[in-house]
C-alpha cells in the first residue's frame, strides 16, 4: 500500500484535500530530513551519523512515494537502507579506533565549508525560483513499474547492461583493494 494508493478515490491527485494532505506530508518529511541531514554532518558520533543518514534516506523514499514513483521508492529503501547503510556501518566498525567518537573539526574549516555550502544553495535556489516559479507537479497517475521496466529494457538497455559490468568490476576491484595480502 502506498501513500498514493491510500488517496485513491479522492478525485485523483488534484482535489483540495489530497493536496493539503500531500503538502502536510511533504512538510513533515522535509523538515525531518533537513534536520536529520544537518545532524548527520555535525554530530560527533559516527554511528549516530549513520542513523541520521537512515532517516534522510527514508525521507527521500517517502518523497518518491509522494511523487508517485513507487518503484524507485521501494528500491531506495531496499538498496540504500538495506544495503548501503549496512556497508557504512561495517566501514565504521572496521575503522573504529582511528577517530573514536570525536571528529574534531577546526572552526576555520567549518567556516569555509559553510560558506561554500551557502554559496551552492544560494545560486541553486536563485536559479530554481527564477526558472520554475510556481509550476505545479500535476501528475495524472502514478507511473507503473511496467512503464519503468519497459523503458529500461528497450531504450536504456545498453546502460543497463553496462551497469552489470560496472558492478562486477567494482566488486572485483574493491575486493582486491580491500583484502589483506
Amino acid at each position: 500500500m502506498t501513500a498514493l494508493a491510500a488517496l485513491e478515490g479522492m478525485d485523483r491527485l488534484t482535489s483540495g484535500e489530497a493536496l493539503v494532505a500531500q503538502n502536510v506530508a511533504f512538510a513533515i518529511m522535509a523538515i525531518t530530513m533537513v534536520v536529520a541531514a544537518l545532524r548527520m554532518v555535525t554530530t560527533r558520533n559516527v554511528v549516530h551519523a549513520a542513523l541520521y543518514l537512515v532517516v534522510v534516506l527514508a525521507g527521500v523514499a517517502g518523497q518518491f512515494l509522494l511523487l508517485g514513483a513507487e518503484f524507485v521508492g521501494v528500491t531506495q529503501v531496499m538498496v540504500y537502507i538495506g544495503a548501503i547503510v549496512v556497508l557504512f556501518l561495517f566501514g565504521i566498525m572496521l575503522t573504529k579506533g582511528s577517530f573514536g567518537e570525536d571528529d574534531g573539526v577546526s572552526s576555520e574549516k567549518r567556516l569555509m565549508a559553510g560558506l561554500v555550502g551557502l554559496l551552492v544553495f544560494g545560486v541553486m535556489a536563485a536559479a530554481l525560483v527564477d526558472s520554475f516559479e510556481d509550476a505545479e507537479v500535476a501528475r495524472e497517475a502514478p507511473s507503473t513499474t511496467a512503464e519503468v521496466s519497459d523503458s529500461i529494457f528497450s531504450t536504456y538497455i545498453v546502460p543497463f547492461e553496462a551497469v552489470s559490468v560496472l558492478l562486477l568490476a567494482a566488486l572485483i576491484g574493491a575486493i582486491v583493494v580491500a583484502r589483506k595480502d
Binding site: 520554475f132 511496467a146 528497450s154 551497469v163 567494482a170 574493491a174
Partner: protein
C-alpha cells in the same frame, strides 16, 4: 491490471548487432579474462596481458567493418549512435589502451601486483570509453562515465602497499565522485527542462527555452564542470598532479590520454548536440577554462621537479589547447564541425606523443627508480635512443614542426583565427604566448637528458623489454608520421557528428 499489462505489452527492442559488435567483443574478452583467472588462478598470469592486448586489437576489427559500411546507425530511440565521430574516437581509445597494456606488461608483473584483475579492470574501463563514444543520452553518458571511472579509481590505488598510491586513489575517487555529483545535478536540471534524457530532445528543448533560463545556464555550467574535471581543466584540475604522481605510471598514462579523451568525447557531444543553441553560455565558459588551463598549467609546470607532475601540468596546459576550439564553436556556419575535427585531431596526436613520453618515463624510471627530473639527467649517455625519442615527444608536445604536435596546434589556431571573433583572436594570442612558455620546460627537460651528467656517473644500460620497445615504436612512428604527413590524421579526424545533421 491485466488490461494494463496488455496495453503496455513489452516490445522487444530492435537490436543492431553489428552496431554494438565492438562492445560485445570487448565484453567477451573481459569475461574470458575473468574466467581464465578463476579457472587457472596464478597460472594465468603470464598470458593475461597478451590476452588483453589481443582482445583490444580484436575489438578494432568490427570497428573496421563498421567504418567500411559507413552508414550512421541510430539505435535504441537515439540513445546510442554509431557515426564517424564515434568510430574514430573508439579507435583512439582502443589503440591507446593497447599501448597502455604494452606499458603495463612488465610494470605490473614485476611489481607483483594483482595482474589478472588489473587487465580486467582496464578492459572494463575501456568499455566505458567505447560506450561513451556512442552514448547520446544522459543515462548512457552517466553510466559510461562511471564505468570508465570506477575501475580507474581502483587502478590508481593498485600499488596497495605504497602510501602514495593509496593517497592518489582516495583523492581521485573522492574528487571523481564529487565531480560526477555536480554533473548529475546539472543533468537532472536538463531533464527537468526537457522531460527527456535524449540529447536530441534536450537540444530542441534548450533551443525552445531560449538562453536566459537560469537553470539551463546552471545545468550547462555544472555538466561542463563535471567533464572539465575529467579532462583536468583549470580550476577543476587540482586532482591531476597528485593522482598522476601517486598512481602506477602506466595507469597515469591511461588517465592522461584515454580517460581525458573520454571526457572530451562527452564534452563535445553534450555541447554540440544538447546545447548548440546556448552558445552564449558555454562559449565564455569554455573560453575561461581554456585560457586558465593553458596559463596555470604552464606556469606551475615551470616549477616542477618531478617528471610525472611536470607531465600532469603539461597535460593541463594541453587540455587548454584542446578545449580552445570549442570557445568559438557556437555560431553556425560549420564552426561546430571545424572545432570538432580540430579537437579530435588534437586528441589523436596528443595520445601518440603523450603515451610516448610516458613510455620513456616508465623505461627510465625502471632504471633510476625515481621520477625526479634530476634522475633523468645524462640519459643520453646510457640510453641515446630513448633520449632521442623523448626529445621528439617533448618537442612534439611543444608544437615544433614537423612533429605531430605542431599540426595539432596549427588546427587549433586555425579554428580560433577563422572564427572571426575578437575573443577567438585573444585566445589564440594567449595560446601563442603559452606555447612559448611551454617550450621552456620541455626543452629544459630535454636539455637535462642530453647535457647534464648522469647522477653518480651511473651509465649502466637501461633494461628494455619487447613490449616497451613496441609501445615506444608505435608512438614514435605515429608522432612523426602525423607531423610530416598530416593528411594521414586529417583524413580520419575530418569527422562530423551524426546528430549534428552534417
Amino acid at each position: 491490471m491485466a488490461v494494463d499489462l496488455l496495453t503496455l505489452a513489452f516490445q522487444r527492442p530492435h537490436i543492431d548487432w553489428h552496431g554494438i559488435a565492438p562492445e560485445l567483443v570487448l565484453l567477451g574478452v573481459g569475461a574470458l579474462i575473468t574466467l581464465v583467472d578463476i579457472v587457472f588462478l596464478e597460472k594465468a598470469r603470464p598470458i593475461t596481458a597478451a590476452l588483453a592486448g589481443l582482445g583490444l586489437l580484436a575489438t578494432a576489427v568490427p570497428l573496421l567493418t563498421l567504418a567500411a559500411d559507413g552508414t550512421d546507425r541510430v539505435m535504441f530511440d537515439g540513445a546510442y549512435v554509431v557515426d564517424e565521430f564515434s568510430l574514430v574516437m573508439k579507435a583512439i581509445f582502443l589503440l591507446s589502451a593497447y599501448v597502455v597494456v604494452l606499458l603495463s606488461t612488465n610494470y605490473v608483473a614485476e611489481g607483483d601486483y594483482w595482474e589478472n584483475e588489473y587487465y580486467g579492470l582496464l578492459l572494463a574501463s575501456v568499455m566505458g570509453m567505447v560506450m561513451m563514444a556512442s552514448a547520446r543520452d544522459l543515462v548512457s553518458i552517466f553510466v559510461a562515465l562511471e564505468l570508465l571511472s570506477i575501475p580507474a579509481y581502483l587502478m590508481v590505488a593498485w600499488r596497495k602497499r605504497d602510501l602514495r598510491s593509496n593517497e592518489a586513489g582516495l583523492k581521485y575517487y573522492l574528487m571523481g565522485v564529487f565531480a560526477s555529483a555536480v554533473m548529475l545535478y546539472g543533468m537532472s536540471l536538463l531533464y527537468g527542462v526537457s522531460g527527456s534524457t535524449m540529447l536530441d530532445d534536450i537540444g530542441t528543448a534548450v533551443a525552445a527555452a531560449g538562453s536566459s533560463v537560469p537553470v539551463v545556464t546552471m545545468a550547462i555550467v555544472f555538466i561542463v564542470a563535471g567533464f572539465a574535471f575529467k579532462v583536468s581543466a583549470v580550476p577543476f584540475h587540482t586532482w591531476a598532479p597528485d593522482v598522476y604522481e601517486g598512481a602506477p605510471t602506466p595507469v597515469t598514462a591511461f588517465l592522461a590520454v584515454a580517460s581525458k579523451a573520454a571526457g572530451f568525447v562527452a564534452l563535445l557531444v553534450l555541447v554540440l548536440v544538447a546545447f548548440p543553441s546556448a552558445s552564449d553560455v558555454w562559449e565564455p565558459l569554455v573560453w575561461i577554462l581554456a585560457a586558465a588551463s593553458m596559463t596555470v598549467g604552464n606556469m606551475v609546470a615551470l616549477r616542477q621537479t618531478n617528471v610525472v607532475r611536470l607531465m600532469a601540468y603539461s597535460g593541463i596546459a594541453q587540455t587548454g589547447f584542446m578545449i580552445a576550439p570549442l570557445a568559438v564553436a557556437g555560431h553556425g556556419g560549420g564552426s561546430a564541425d571545424q572545432a570538432l575535427s580540430a579537437v579530435v585531431t588534437y586528441l589523436a596526436i596528443y595520445a601518440a606523443m603523450n603515451l610516448g613520453a610516458f613510455a620513456v618515463i616508465i623505461v627510465l624510471a625502471r632504471k633510476t627508480g625515481s621520477a625526479e627530473t634530476t634522475s633523468f639527467a645524462g640519459a643520453f649517455h646510457y640510453a641515446p635512443g630513448l633520449t632521442v625519442a623523448m626529445t621528439i615527444f617533448l618537442f612534439s608536445l611543444a608544437g615544433i614542426p614537423p612533429l605531430g604536435g605542431w599540426f595539432a596546434k596549427f588546427e587549433v589556431f586555425r579554428v580560433l583565427a577563422t572564427a572571426g571573433e575578437p575573443w577567438g583572436y585573444v585566445l589564440a594570442a594567449v595560446g601563442a604566448v603559452n606555447s612559448v612558455i611551454a617550450l621552456y620546460y620541455y626543452a629544459a627537460l630535454a636539455r637535462r637528458m642530453w647535457a647534464d651528467d648522469a647522477p653518480d656517473g651511473d651509465h649502466a644500460p637501461v633494461p628494455m623489454t619487447p613490449s616497451l620497445a613496441s609501445a615506444l615504436g608505435i608512438c614514435g612512428i605515429v608522432t612523426l608520421a602525423f607531423g610530416v604527413a598530416p593528411q594521414l590524421v586529417a583524413r580520419f579526424t575530418d569527422v562530423t557528428l551524426a546528430a549534428l545533421g552534417g
